[in-house]
Structures are given as structure tokens and as C-alpha cells.
């Protein structure tokens, strides 16, 4: 071992770069809100915030699962297809009511997760390749199930999930979709920070070899991670369907993997794995939502919104660069 060891020091807590790495996403949100407070009429109204939160729910839920997968140094491109599959399954079983149909949709999503996870964990396929194949095949299967048709869903349970709120009619009513998202955020946060599974997942992302040599059930944990990610995507698919009041497997969740990955990375979870920032991921999703909303309210064409997203990804990755090099 005569090879030179180059020591790279971590950016200290005090440096500007260190602060940006830790709190960048929150600072960005604050800046954006201040801008809107000054320049955007009617932005600071409860109704507007309610709308923003409802709109961000699917991306946020998908991003939660994505954060877990990225924490293992993986990636899941099939989340949009899983949403489509969930959407396709719902009309078939909605006759039994929302809960049974939702459970079935989640199970179908989980099956995709099992396939993804098995390919990654047991066969050793690179995550990007394994999930890319399901990204393509999954939506195809969804279209087959739906017979390539758009079906409206009129079940009252589904409609209530999509459009109803707790404390209906009150000024501070909370949409059910937002409540579901909030519960899932808490569950995933607990999972990451308080359970054996979460700790092991992060260790695997930090050093898979060391985790294996420490006797961790690496393959089982990887499998479970992809299953969780897919199940969360299925839930996002259910909520997306409920909001539309229709099953639209051809377009639901299109390109959502990109938004979700952006939210995770902007939120401070490095693509190199070994860390999962749940709070940051939530904030990342919100930041993307607020940016879009700000641009919309100032009548900036959608194309600019996409370009802005790209700039933000680059910025986030640039800021994280120092941290990745430490590994």
C-alpha cells in the first residue's frame, strides 16, 4: 500500500460551501418566498398554498422512495411506470371500494419493486439499467391492462381522496392527499432515522463492501428498498388518479422520475449514496413546486420552467461536489 493517500478535508460547518450543502435548499425556499411576498400578488393566501401542496403531493411521495434508493447508491427510473400501473389497476377493482383497489394497486407496484430489486441485488444488474427496462415495460403493461383507454373513476372514496379535505368548508381545511403525504413523510423519516433497516440501508450506500463484510443482509435490504420505492410510487399513482378523477395510464407520472431525482438531490442526498435526507427531500420537492408556481404566476412560458429546473439541478450537484469527493 505505497499508494499516495490524498487527504481531502470536509468543508467545515462554518464555510459558505458547508452552509450551502447543509441548508441550501431551505435558504432557496426562503429566498423564493420572500421574492413572492414582494413581487407576486395573492401568493401568500391560504388557498394558493393549499393548491401548491396538493400539486406537489405525487412528486413528493415518489421522491421519498427515490431518496431511499439513492441512499443505497442506486436509482429508480421506473417510478412513473409504476404510477401508470397503479392507475390502470384502480378502475378494475374499484367496484370493491377504494381500500381494496388501493391495496391491489400497491401490491402490483410492489411486484415491480421486487423485479427491480431482484435484478439489482441478486443478479447484479446496474440499477439504472434494471429500472430503465421496467420504466419502458411497466407503462406498456399498464396500457395493455387499460386497453389503452382513459376511464373516469366516479367512486366517492376516490373522489374524496382527490378533492376532499379534513375540516371541509373551514378556512384551514387540509386536503386528504396532503394528509396522506404528511403521514408517509413521517413514516419514511422514522424508517431512515430510527430503524435497523434504515441504518443498514445507509451503511450499504456508504460502503457496500464494508456492509457485506460486517455481515449485513445486503441483498435483502436492497430488495426491500426497491419494493418500498415502488410501493410509494403506486400510492402516488393512486392519488394522481384520484385528483384527475380518471385513470390515465398513458400520461400519469410521465417524467416524474426526473422531478423526484431532482428533489432528492436538491434536498442534499448525494447520488453517491450513504445518506438519506428526508426533510431535505420534502423541501426539494416544495422548492421545485414553488419555482414552477412563481414562473406560472408571472406568465413565464413552461419551457423556461424546465430550463430553470435544469439550472437548479446543476447548481445542486455543483454544491454537493465537494461532499462526494470526500468519499
Amino acid at each position: 500500500m505505497s499508494q499516495a493517500t490524498v487527504t481531502i478535508t470536509l468543508p467545515r460547518r462554518g464555510t459558505a460551501l458547508g452552509i450551502m450543502q447543509r441548508y441550501g435548499v431551505y435558504i432557496a425556499i426562503a429566498a423564493l418566498l420572500i421574492y413572492n411576498l414582494i413581487f407576486t400578488p395573492n401568493f401568500f393566501e391560504l388557498d394558493n398554498f393549499r393548491t401548491q401542496f396538493v400539486q406537489v403531493v405525487p412528486v413528493m411521495i415518489v421522491a421519498l422512495g427515490m431518496a431511499l434508493v439513492i441512499g443505497t447508491e442506486g436509482i429508480d427510473l421506473s417510478v412513473g411506470a409504476v404510477m401508470a400501473l397503479a392507475a390502470a389497476v384502480i378502475p378494475l377493482y374499484i367496484g370493491y371500494g377504494l381500500i381494496p383497489a388501493a391495496i391491489l394497486a400497491i401490491v402490483v407496484g410492489a411486484v415491480v419493486g421486487v423485479i427491480n430489486g431482484s435484478m439489482v441485488a441478486f443478479i447484479g444488474v446496474q440499477p439504472i439499467v434494471a429500472t430503465l427496462s421496467l420504466m419502458v415495460a411497466g407503462r406498456g403493461i399498464a396500457l395493455l391492462i387499460a386497453n389503452e383507454q382513459l376511464r373516469s373513476v366516479t367512486d366517492p372514496g376516490v373522489l374524496s381522496l382527490g378533492r376532499g379535505s379534513l375540516f371541509e368548508g373551514e378556512a384551514f381545511r387540509i386536503p386528504y392527499a396532503v394528509i396522506v403525504a404528511a403521514v408517509l413523510v413521517v413514516i419514511v423519516a422514522l424508517l431512515v432515522n430510527r430503524t435497523t433497516f434504515g441504518k443498514q440501508l445507509i451503511a450499504i450506500g456508504g460502503s457496500r463492501r464494508a456492509a457485506e463484510l460486517a455481515g449485513l443482509p445486503v441483498k435483502r435490504i436492497l430488495l426491500l428498498t426497491y419494493v418500498l420505492c415502488a410501493a410509494l410510487a403506486a400510492i402516488a399513482g393512486i392519488i394522481g388518479t384520484a385528483r384527475l378523477g380518471a385513470s390515465v395510464p398513458s400520461t400519469l407520472g410521465n417524467l416524474i422520475e426526473l422531478s423526484a431525482i431532482t428533489a432528492v438531490v436538491v434536498g442534499g442526498t448525494p447520488l453517491t449514496g450513504g445518506q438519506v435526507k428526508v426533510g431535505g427531500t420534502v423541501a426539494g420537492a416544495l422548492l421545485l413546486q414553488f419555482i414552477t408556481a412563481t414562473l406560472v404566476k408571472h406568465d413565464v412560458p413552461d419551457a423556461y420552467s424546465q430550463i430553470t429546473q435544469a439550472v437548479i439541478i446543476l447548481l445542486a450537484v455543483y454544491i454537493q461536489r465537494g461532499r462526494a469527493a470526500v468519499r
Partner: protein, 539 residues
């Protein structure tokens, strides 16, 4: 065979070469000479600077000081390709050709014969390739993709390619490490042919038998310095090993009885019985038995199979044959979790890549393996964790700002203690230590050694692998010496001293041998006898 002392300048020469990496001196004023038609052994243990020297000679690295001369003229190889064009070729351990291309294409890649139209003249290429391989007695279909050939043949192709590029010097780095015995013979005869053509060979191997068979002279490196240059005839094996390890035979008194390895063996039944551990090309038929409280050293030079033996017992490496038993129960082989459950844990050699999880805290690293035991219904209990972490941070004197400090910020010695704590938290029965004190400072080293002794005193069975002769001798009650993946000999009692160990490492199995298995090759008449004699008197 004296090397011919002619007036011709050496075919390849390094003068006063120094190479530093980020403050670490990898080569220190190295002088190196290679003469036409000779075969020179480049010897040295891990970290001695062999690879760096090869890379400087072949243009991968530029020397910080000194110069390289080819046929007497100063040259600068800016890139490996420059060296190759000038006639210095390298054959690496793992063949560096293109597996999917045909044999002929691999030989002529980048300099294919062309037709008048500028297209590749396949006909001529195939014919040339066949003719070339014929001269070395290699009979293969040159159109077949390279990867369809046996590894040995692939290496011959690499060799043929090197020579066909007008090579004057061929550097071979561990050329036989993945070859069958028969393939090794072919390689040796090819080497003979090359030498007749006046091509000089630099042969890097840790297999003593091969060195003495193939090479005339040796250049020995240690810690980046040349410590010996001379004919192998005049260099007994034991002296060569001493040179490589930096231990002289005179200095081999047992360091008093203050050795850190005390004898804790009892009449207790063995805790671990490993039998016939075998894996192709790595280890072959290794038996180890160890009692509670015993420290068994695993001696051997680089590549002797020390680490592989540990990995086999720890479930890290799949076995072709053999079994490991703990307290009489067979442990499922090839499974780390099964080994850990049975009570076998291993401190890996490469602490940074295989041991610590660099981004996690000291706490998370210590409890990594024990996490399920410290949890309730899948929820990790901070209180249980802190109890364990607290105990081991105090007991092992882990110096950190606190359990929340990121482990990669700790010194090497403290990282190693974190690793030991991780395993002690599992209350193991057998602790396998692979180079536990490598790369840590002197103070931490003494602490770790004292700890090994203490743990053995508490009844833990320990297997210690170290490339430091002194550490093995002082730390172990018994030393199993490996050579080429087999048990060469077992040193017990008074035999556990540096002198016996050096002799065993050199392959001079004398009366010290407890295990009768010896090598055919080492009964060679030219094997150095003088050392055996002197040892006979002293023992």
C-alpha cells in the same frame, strides 16, 4: 551463471530515480540496471516500490529526480506508448488485451497490415500472427476471440504481441499467478527463447522457486530503496527473504520474554477446526486448529495465501473444498452472516475500503454489525447503542470528539480500534486479524498489540496475519507458515522466533518442519545449503 560484464551499456537503466506522492517517497534514489539477454528478478514486499519502479520505467509515471537510459541514451517516456515504441513492454498480472477481438487483431492492434486501399489486410494479418505464435510453439486459431482461450494462452499472446513490437525489454508482473503448472512450463520455455534473442526480462514474482529457476540476478527493493543487487547464485533464499523483510538473522533474538503474546493455551478442546481449505489458484488444503485463548500467527510472504485463508474462514471467499467447524459444528461456507453467527469475525486488511463506512459516525460504525441485537422490533434503540459504544470507546481508548464524529476524520489507529470494537460488540469466539497494525502510528500499534494479548487472555481465539516478522513472532504462540497457498510448516514453542520464521518463509524446511508437506521444487540441488547448516548448529 555470472552476468556477463561487457562494455556494452545496459539495455535499460535507471539512475538516481526518486518518486514522491503527496509527501510519501515511493522511490528513493533508485539505481537499476538491466543487461541484454538477462533475466532479472525484481523483489520486494508490499509497498517496497516495485510497481512504482516499473511504472517509472514504462512511462506511466515521470520520475521526480533522476533519469532513465535506454541503451545508454537518456530517454523520457511521456506515455506508456512511448516506452512501448522504444522497446520496453509490460505483461501485467491480468492480461490487458481486448477479450472480444481475435487473437490476430490483438497482436496487431494499431499497426495492422494494410492493403493498397488502406483497408486491413486480414489474410496477411492472420498468416503473420500464425507464424509469430508458431515460433513459440503456441498452436491456436488466430481468428478466435481472445477470451475463448485459456488464461495461460492469452498471456502467451500478450507476450508474443510485446515481442513483435520489437521489444528489447519485457517486464513481467506476476506472470504465473493465474497459470496452471503446464502453462508455467510453456511460459518458461518462451522466456528462454526470448533471452536467446537478446531480449532482457524483468521478472516480478513472489514465488521463490520460480525466481531461482528463471532469473540470474536480483534487485531487491525495500521501502523505496535498493537494498541489494547481485547474482542469485550467491544469494541464499533465507538471505533474500531477510533483505526483503528488512530483518537480519543476527537481530533475531526473541526480544526478551517481554513478548506481547503470552501462552494462554490450555487443554481445552479447540474452538475452531478448519480442514482442507482450498480454492483454485489461491489456497490448497490448509488445516488450522485453534484453542480458546490461543494466538496463532499466519506467516507467509506476499501472495502466500494468508489473507485468503482468513477470508475462507470468515465466509468472505467461496471454497472449492474444505470445512470450518466452531465447537464441533460445521459453519456454512461462503456466508459472512453464517460465520458471524457462529462467532468468527474478521478485521479486513483494507480498512478504508472494506472496514469502516467512511461517511458514518463512530457510533454507527461500532454498532454496524450488532445493530439487530441492539434493536427492539426493528427499531434501533439509542440507549442500547450508547451503552455499547460507551463501553468500547472507553475500553479501547478510542480518541474521537464523541460518538457522533465522522469516522473518516479519525486517525488510522483509532479507525482500527473502531473496527475492533465493532467485532467485540458481537462477542465473537474467533477473531481473525489481517494486518491489524498496518498504517497506524507507533503508539496505537502498541495499544492494539496489547489489546490482542488482553483479548486472548480473556479466552478469545485469535488468528494474526502480519507482514511484520517481529509482530508475528512476538504476538503468536504458534505460527503456521504458508507458502504458495499451502502450509509450509508449523512453528511451535521455542521455534517461534524470527530465525525459524525467516527460514520457513524462504522455503528452507529443515528440522523445524512439523508438517511433512514440502515442495518438489525446493529439493533442488542449488537450494542454498549454507544457511540450513548454520541453522542446524544453532537450533
Amino acid at each position: 551463471m555470472e552476468s556477463p560484464l561487457t562494455d556494452d551499456p545496459p539495455v535499460l537503466e535507471a539512475r538516481g530515480v526518486t518518486k514522491r506522492f503527496a509527501g510519501v517517497t515511493a522511490l528513493d534514489n533508485v539505481n537499476f540496471e538491466l543487461r541484454a539477454g538477462e533475466s532479472l528478478a525484481l523483489m520486494g514486499e508490499n509497498g517496497a516500490g516495485k510497481s512504482t519502479l516499473i511504472k517509472v520505467l514504462t512511462g506511466v509515471y515521470q520520475p521526480d529526480e533522476g533519469e532513465i537510459r535506454l541503451g545508454g541514451a537518456v530517454v523520457t517516456f511521456a506515455r506508456p506508448l512511448d516506452a512501448q515504441k522504444a522497446g520496453v513492454s509490460t505483461i501485467y498480472q491480468e492480461v490487458n488485451l481486448v477479450p472480444l477481438m481475435s487473437v490476430a487483431q490483438n497482436i496487431y492492434i494499431g499497426r495492422e497490415p494494410r492493403t493498397r486501399l488502406g483497408l486491413i489486410d486480414f489474410k496477411r494479418m492472420y498468416a503473420d500472427a500464425r507464424a509469430l505464435l508458431d515460433t513459440y510453439g503456441i498452436d491456436v486459431d488466430v481468428r478466435r476471440p481472445l477470451r475463448s482461450l485459456a488464461l495461460g494462452v492469452q498471456q502467451m499472446v500478450a507476450l508474443a504481441r510485446a515481442v513483435s513490437i520489437n521489444a528489447k525489454v519485457v517486464i513481467m508482473d506476476e506472470p504465473t499467478s493465474s497459470l496452471e503448472a503446464r502453462e508455467v512450463e510453456t511460459l518458461f520455455s518462451v522466456i528462454g527463447l526470448l533471452r536467446q534473442q537478446g531480449i532482457a526480462i524483468v521478472y516480478v514474482s513472489h514465488r521463490m522457486d520460480e525466481i531461482y529457476r528463471v532469473c540470474d540476478r536480483a534487485t531487491v527493493l525495500r521501502d523505496g530503496k535498493v537494498v541489494h543487487v547481485g547474482a542469485l547464485d550467491a544469494l541464499p533464499r533465507m538471505e533474500l527473504v531477510s533483505l526483503m523483510l528488512g530483518r537480519t538473522i543476527e537481530s533475531s533474538d526473541r526480544g526478551g520474554v517481554t513478548a506481547f503474546g503470552s501462552d494462554n493455551t490450555s487443554d481445552a478442546p479447540p474452538v475452531l477446526v478448519a480442514e482442507d481449505l482450498s480454492r483454485r489458484h489461491q489456497i490448497d488444503g490448509i488445516d488450522i486448529t485453534i484453542k480458546p485463548g490461543e494466538v496463532v500467527g499466519l506467516g507467509g510472504l506476499l501472495g502466500s495465501g494468508r489473507s485468503e485463508t482468513l477470508k475462507a474462514m470468515a465466509g468472505v471467499m467461496q471454497l472449492d473444498r474444505g470445512s470450518v467447524q466452531i465447537d464441533g459444528k460445521t459453519v456454512r461456507s461462503g456466508s459472512v452472516p453464517a460465520a458471524i453467527r457462529a462467532g468468527i469475525v474478521m478485521l479486513p486488511e483494507d480498512r478504508k475500503a472494506e472496514g469502516i463506512v467512511p461517511g458514518l459516525s463512530v457510533r454507527d460504525n461500532i454498532v454496524l454489525a450488532a445493530l439487530p441485537r441492539l434493536s427492539k422490533a426493528g427499531f434501533s434503540s439509542r440507549r442500547n447503542q450508547d451503552a455499547v459504544v460507551d463501553v468500547f470507546m472507553k475500553r479501547l481508548h478510542i480518541k474521537a470528539s464523541g460518538p457522533d464524529q465522522i469516522v473518516s476524520e479519525l486517525s488510522g489507529g483509532n479507525q482500527q480500534k473502531v473496527m475492533i470494537a465493532r467485532w467485540l460488540a458481537m462477542s465473537p469466539k474467533v477473531l481473525l486479524l489481517d494486518e491489524p497494525t498496518r498504517g497506524i502510528d507507533v503508539g496505537a500499534k502498541a495499544e492494539v498489540q496489547a489489546l490482542i494479548d488482553e483479548l486472548a487472555g480473556e479466552g478469545l481465539a485469535i488468528v494474526l496475519v502480519s507482514s511484520e516478522v517481529e509482530e508475528v513472532v512476538e504476538g503468536s504462540g504458534r505460527v503456521i507458515v504458508l507458502r504458495d497457498g499451502e502450509v509450509e510448516t508449523v512453528l511451535t514453542g521455542a521455534q517461534v522466533d524470527e530465525e525459524h520464521l525467516l527460514a520457513a518463509l524462504a522455503g528452507d524446511a529443515g528440522e523445524a518442519a512439523e508438517d511433512p508437506r514440502t515442495h518438489d521444487a525446493q529439493t533442488d540441488a542449488d537450494a542454498p545449503t549454507s544457511v540450513t547448516d548454520s541453522r542446524g548448529e544453532r537450533a
